[in-house]
């Protein structure tokens, strides 16, 4: 198991290298001059040129990239162009905010989504099922900022129950969590419903029922445990997604998260900050994925045994397991 974890962490390195390269390349071809952005419209040409030289912006792509990577190896993410603070300082302020919100979002989505999905599956074709499916579809189809604005107008302006923006206390989290989690809830509900339906049809469930076990035991012990893998997959995807994808909601709710930081950094051509925050975020997302994969093993003894088998076979099987989980997650009904 430990070897597996170590190997997975080791495998993250080339991916992170690739990400830094792609981001660096994108930023390299982006028009716009960070030096000009710092000095403003009215700056003298010579001043801008001098600053470009000082910032090393006149060097070739590979020179800059390798210099960046060299610094990175020494644990230095560079200095933000706009604030002149170390990139890590900026990220370390913003990341926890986003991570906290994302965690609550996913927690909320699981608490709401999974039971509703199960209920919907057990009561297939009833009115509960229909309503659930409609709401789930709505959650997926609504543009998120529209939903967020509607929530603010309803709960902050008209009813006056909840604060409209900022994150200064528990009540401030409610609206952002609801609006960001809408899509996740919908997707988790759908996945829970479909994978439960699939499992319920299996023979061993009938066997368990035939053995005279209580319906609740049948559902939660036998069915849910086996339906869990696709649900976990989706939860992982949603969690990773809400870490980086909540930019729009961060803007509506004035949340100082990392999504907004990245967007602003791109707009200001703040290359070190862009690269740094994408890297840190990707690392976090990879960690989440690893954690989810480890949960598979916890849930399913078959997968657990695969993790410790010999090298060659493991690779193939792992691929198959993930593939199956993915396919199942995509399935509905």
């Amino acid at each position: 198991m430990l070897r597996y974890i170590a190997k997975r962490i080791f495998l993250m390195i080339p991916v992170l290298l690739g990400i830094s390269f792609v981001i660096f390349l994108l930023m390299y071809f982006t028009p716009g001059d960070p030096a000009q952005m710092i000095l403003g419209d009215m700056a003298d040409k010579e001043d801008v040129e001098a600053l470009r030289e000082e910032m090393g912006l006149n060097d070739g792509f590979f020179e800059r990239y390798f210099r960046y990577m060299g610094d990175l190896l020494r644990g230095d993410l560079g200095t933000s162009y706009t604030t002149k603070l170390p990139v890590w300082d900026e990220i370390s302020v913003r990341l926890p905010v986003t991570a906290k919100v994302a965690f609550f979002v996913i927690l909320f989505a699981v608490i709401i989504g999974v039971p509703i999905g199960i209920l919907s599956a057990v009561r297939q074709y009833t009115i509960i099922d229909s309503i659930t499916r409609v709401l789930a579809l709505l959650g997926i189809t609504m543009p998120s900022f529209w939903f967020a604005l509607l929530l603010v107008l309803l709960f902050s302006v008209r009813l006056g129950w909840l604060p409209a923006s900022g994150l200064y206390g528990p009540s401030y989290y409610i609206l952002p969590i609801i609006s960001i989690s809408a899509a996740s809830i919908a997707i988790i509900t759908r996945t829970a419903r479909s994978s439960m339906l699939e499992v319920i049809r299996q023979d061993y469930i009938d066997t368990a029922r035939a053995k005279g076990q209580k319906e609740r035991v049948v559902l939660f012990k036998h069915a849910l445990l086996n339906a869990l893998i696709p649900i976990l997959t989706v939860v992982g995807i949603q969690f990773a997604g809400s870490l980086g994808g909540a930019v729009v909601n961060e803007q509506v709710f004035a949340i100082p998260g990392i999504g907004k930081l990245m967007v602003d950094a791109i707009k200001a051509r703040n290359y070190p900050l862009v690269t740094g925050s994408v890297l840190v975020l990707s690392l976090l997302q990879s960690m989440v994925n690893l954690f989810i994969d480890l949960l598979y093993a916890f849930v399913d003894p078959r997968i657990r045994s695969q993790y410790s088998r010999d090298k060659k076979k493991k690779k193939a099987l792992n691929g198959a397991v993930t593939a199956n989980a993915g396919m199942a997650a995509n399935k509905r009904k």
Partner: protein
């Protein structure tokens, strides 16, 4: 199964109707809001303190919360040109003078004496301390003036200061030398851009760190900056003047215009900047909020790149201008909160002359096009970045131009690209605004000097001559004559087409008193009083 769809649609409509429809009577709002307001505001500490130590009926509050529209890059007023920098640095710094209704009031200075056209002697107060505990001396003033003269952001305003020869005569006296006579100087020194910084703090911290934690002499001192969220200032105990009616100022960064309005309505903030014009009436009618509006000092204009062959052609520029209904552009783009521009500087600025607005005459436009050899149609191009009002102007102009057979493409880029293109002279046409931080025609026309004309790129020495004359003439009547002549000339040449004088406005809670609209957009927070 269709009922699923029906249900879905019904739910959607219900949601939007509930949230969008405003309460028709203000009554329920009134009964429920005060509680809600308090509740909402408590986590961000906003509790009203009972009567302060003063025996007078002064109401004190712990926090004054101000919503600003973007995060400033720095709070050093010499190192940026963005409004948010000035708003957040205003309570931290003070200038040598204050300007009220054109009157110069000594502030950190006790007075000044004009020795000759190039020399001013300024005497300073001797009871002023910086937030770091150092006493303000002539050295700090000389340092600040030098900084202002050399920084690329303020050299338009203070570039005339002779850095070599400006010096401290003694601890309380500064001799300010100029390179050439410069009329707007005192007005500039009296604005928030002439802030006096602590030399010691600046030199020990370095420019970048100083911009993140500045040290001035103002009533509030810097306390904390939470990246992306807020900037906190707290009262400065050793402040020489009158203490403000609050202990802290918190600038909250709220990017979404509608969120700023909502925060103001629900009491989450006390003051909010950049309120969208559609919300003005709502805030005026709401008994809990007020709108402070008035003419700003900026002018929105259609900028031609005169260095390009096509737009350097006067016939083309005028053909385009005749095709544009300036009145309709101004009213529509700013949702009624702007006037059609009829001059090259804002109306409140001395030297303003009404020369327009440009006539809307599509027939004449077609004639001029034919005369220029484009009877069969002309293709023009706008480049713009994401600025709501500029884009609105351009979108309307695009539609107007199509009526006279001018095909207009709009290229939208982001601000960084726009800035680069602008500096490289690659913008064909765009819409931009010419703001002015002080009420002086020389500064309001700062886009025109030959060495600064990066966007409109005219090459007209006559303009430069008139500008030089205007800048170097001290007598106001003579100056005004020069600027009137200049504006007539600009109108004749039409290197740019003035479009709109936008009104500007910020909102405040109803209990904020002694807080007036200022045209510069940077109000004095320290004077705020709370009413019950």
């Amino acid at each position: 199964m269709k009922k699923l769809l029906v249900l879905a649609l019904a739910f959607m409509m219900l949601m939007s109707v509930i949230a969008c429809s405003e309460p028709s009577t203000p009554a329920p709002e009134n009964t429920s809001s005060p509680d809600a307001t308090n509740e909402a505001a408590t986590p961000a500490p906003d509790g009203q303190e009972p009567e302060g130590s003063d025996p007078a009926t002064e109401i004190r509050k712990e926090n004054l919360i101000v919503a600003i529209q973007a995060e400033p890059q720095t709070i050093d007023p010499y190192a940026a040109s963005h409004e948010t920098t000035f708003i957040s640095s205003e309570p931290i710094f003070e200038s040598l003078f204050k300007s009220e209704n054109g009157e110069l009031i000594p502030w950190l200075a006790t007075g000044y004496e004009t020795v000759d056209d190039l020399t001013i002697k300024i005497t300073l107060r001797d009871d002023v301390y910086f937030h770091d505990g150092n006493k303000m001396t002539a050295d700090d003033v000389v340092f600040s003036l030098t900084y202002g003269a050399t920084s690329s952001f303020t050299s338009t305003l203070f570039g005339a200061i002779d850095v070599e020869n400006t010096k401290a005569l003694d601890e309380q006296t500064v001799e300010l030398k100029l390179l050439y006579p410069y009329a707007p100087l005192l007005e500039g020194l009296a604005s928030y851009r002439g802030a006096i910084l602590s030399k010691a703090a600046f030199e020990s911290m370095g420019a970048d760190a100083f911009g993140r934690a500045p040290v001035g002499t103002g009533p509030m001192m810097f306390k904390n900056w939470v990246n992306g969220d807020r900037i906190e200032l707290t009262a400065f105990d050793q402040y020489w003047g009158e203490k403000p009616a609050f202990d802290n100022v918190i600038f909250r960064i709220i990017l979404e215009a509608s969120s700023r309005t909502v925060e103001l309505e629900t009491g989450g903030v006390d003051v909010a900047f950049q309120i969208s014009p559609v919300d003005w009436t709502r805030l005026e009618e709401n008994p809990e909020t007020q709108m402070l509006t008035g003419n700003s000092m900026s002018m929105t204009y259609l900028c031609f790149n005169n260095s390009m062959e096509l737009y350097g052609n006067e016939l083309i520029r005028k053909a385009i201008a005749y095709a544009i209904d300036v009145e309709a552009v101004a009213k529509t783009a700013y949702q009624g909160q702007a006037d059609a521009a009829d001059g090259f500087i804002a109306r409140s600025i001395p030297g303003y002359k009404k020369v327009g607005p440009w006539e809307y005459n599509p027939e004449k436009s077609k004639e001029l096009l034919a005369e220029a050899g484009y009877a069969d149609g002309l293709e023009v191009k706008f480049v713009t970045f994401q600025q709501q009002y500029y884009n609105a102007c351009i979108e309307i102009i695009q539609s107007m131009l199509s009526e006279v057979g001018i095909t207009c493409t709009i290229e939208m880029v982001d601000l960084a690209t726009f800035t680069s293109m602008n500096n490289n002279g690659e913008l064909p046409m765009t819409v931009m605004a010419n703001g002015s931080s002080i009420s002086d025609p020389a500064v309001a026309l700062s886009a025109w000097p030959l060495e600064r004309t990066i966007s409109l790129r005219h090459n007209d020495q006559h303009i430069q001559d008139l500008l030089d004359q205007g800048e170097r003439t001290y007598a106001m009547e003579d100056r005004i004559k020069i600027y009137e002549e200049l504006q007539d000339y600009l109108w004749e040449k039409l290197y740019i087409l003035p479009l709109a004088y936008p009104l500007s406005g910020y909102g405040a809670r109803a209990n904020i008193g002694n807080f007036d609209f200022v045209a510069s957009g940077v109000p004095d927070f320290a004077e705020i009083e709370f009413t019950a």
